[in-house]
């Protein structure tokens, strides 16, 4: 049960955006710009970073919903998502993406841990300023979303199909705030 009366029975972040639409609108706009609009990182890779950070924060709702979106966007390579969550250093992804996940992991723990060596390593694998910027901000943003969703104890569905459907919607439509009209 959520910690406060949200006056709706939808899960996760959507229940919060319905409860307080004026903050919900800006949070969805931020997600859309960061995860869907222009970036040197693919939409799938950005969803993977969001999933990875959510799993470090042990946020079940965000991990499962963004994992589903990442799988949808990776199409035939969907299986890499679970491999990254289990052990990203040995997963079938580029060295560049591994070096960016290392940065994302440090931002999640304590942003001051990001070192000049981490940045130099990412650059040596081809990462540019925008790759690094977007990685840091995606990680930071999910440190917010995860705390928001769990800090108010929002509803977290447990069946896999619900998340699969969410992943399709997130992959096809992106991030639009929910409305009370459906």
């Amino acid at each position: 049960m959520p910690h406060i009366d949200l006056a709706n029975d939808v899960p996760g972040i959507r229940s919060l955006a319905l409860f307080r639409p004026d903050t919900g609108k800006e949070l969805y706009r931020l997600a859309q710009v960061l995860l869907r609009d222009d970036s040197p990182l693919s939409q799938a890779d950005r969803e993977l970073i969001a999933t990875f950070v959510s799993s470090k924060n042990e946020c079940a709702f965000c991990t499962q919903s963004h994992a589903a979106a990442a799988k949808y966007l990776y199409h035939n390579d969907a299986s890499l998502v679970d491999l990254v969550l289990a052990d990203y250093q040995n997963a079938p992804i580029s060295d560049k993406l591994k070096s960016l996940l290392t940065i994302a992991e440090k931002v999640q723990k304590d942003a001051r841990l990001v070192s000049n060596e981490d940045i130099a390593n990412a650059r040596s694998h081809g990462a540019n300023d925008r790759d690094i910027h977007d990685t840091v901000l995606i990680s930071a943003t999910f440190c917010m979303f995860n705390r928001y969703v769990d800090g108010l104890a929002t509803l977290t569905p447990t069946d896999a199909q619900t998340y699969k459907d969410m992943g399709v919607r997130m992959g096809e439509l992106g991030y639009n705030p929910p409305s009370n009209n459906g």
């Binding site: 910690h3 009366d5 307080r20 800006e26 930071a140 705390r147 800090g151 108010l152």
Partner: protein
């Protein structure tokens, strides 16, 4: 030196907002809605929560700028005392209960207990006040990481923060504050 090429003359988050205006727009709009609103929590109380969480995350730039804005509303002594140990400060019991929730959100969302929520409600906190406290704490766990994760510069001079805080309060808010 920051980790990416930004205008080094701009401090903290302002250098990042200048680097990437597309994300700056929703970030500023979120700060405006969350912090510059007197419904439920006052603007001073909101800034105090932001300052406290930024001090827990040890983010120099954010705790100084939001500390200066909070001090504008509540006086510097309140801000200093809350950062030292809020339990011993002169703020209301409701604010103490909400700062306890903010403290637990900073550790991780799951650290917020039923007991924390019941305690805040017993001290008169409404659902929207609890909601805003959780989201302010969560949002500063983002802002602090963004600012420090990219190695931005935080000036030492308290006067710079006071000057900027006065400008935010009296003129620009967050939505209309230019990074420059």
């Amino acid at each position: 030196m920051a980790h990416i090429k930004i205008n080094e003359e701009l401090p903290g988050i302002r250098s990042l907002m200048d680097f990437r205006p597309e994300t700056a727009a929703p970030l500023n709009a979120l700060a405006e809605v969350l912090l510059r609103n007197n419904e439920g929590l006052t603007m001073g109380e909101r800034e105090l929560i932001a300052t406290y969480v930024s001090s827990l995350n040890d983010c120099t730039f954010c705790q100084n700028i939001h500390g200066a804005v909070a001090a504008y509303y509540l006086g510097n002594e309140t801000v200093v005392k809350v950062k030292e140990k809020f339990e011993h400060s002169t703020i209301s019991n409701k604010m103490k209960a909400l700062l306890q929730i903010a403290t637990n959100v900073q550790l991780g969302g799951k650290y917020v207990t039923e007991n924390d929520i019941t305690n805040a409600k017993n001290e008169g906190a409404s659902d929207i006040e609890i909601h805003d406290t959780v989201l302010i704490s969560a949002a500063f766990c983002m802002f602090n990481r963004y600012v420090d994760g990219l190695g931005t510069h935080a000036p030492d001079d308290p006067e710079m923060y006071r000057f900027r805080a006065k400008k935010i309060v009296e003129e620009t808010g967050y939505t209309h504050s230019s990074p420059k």
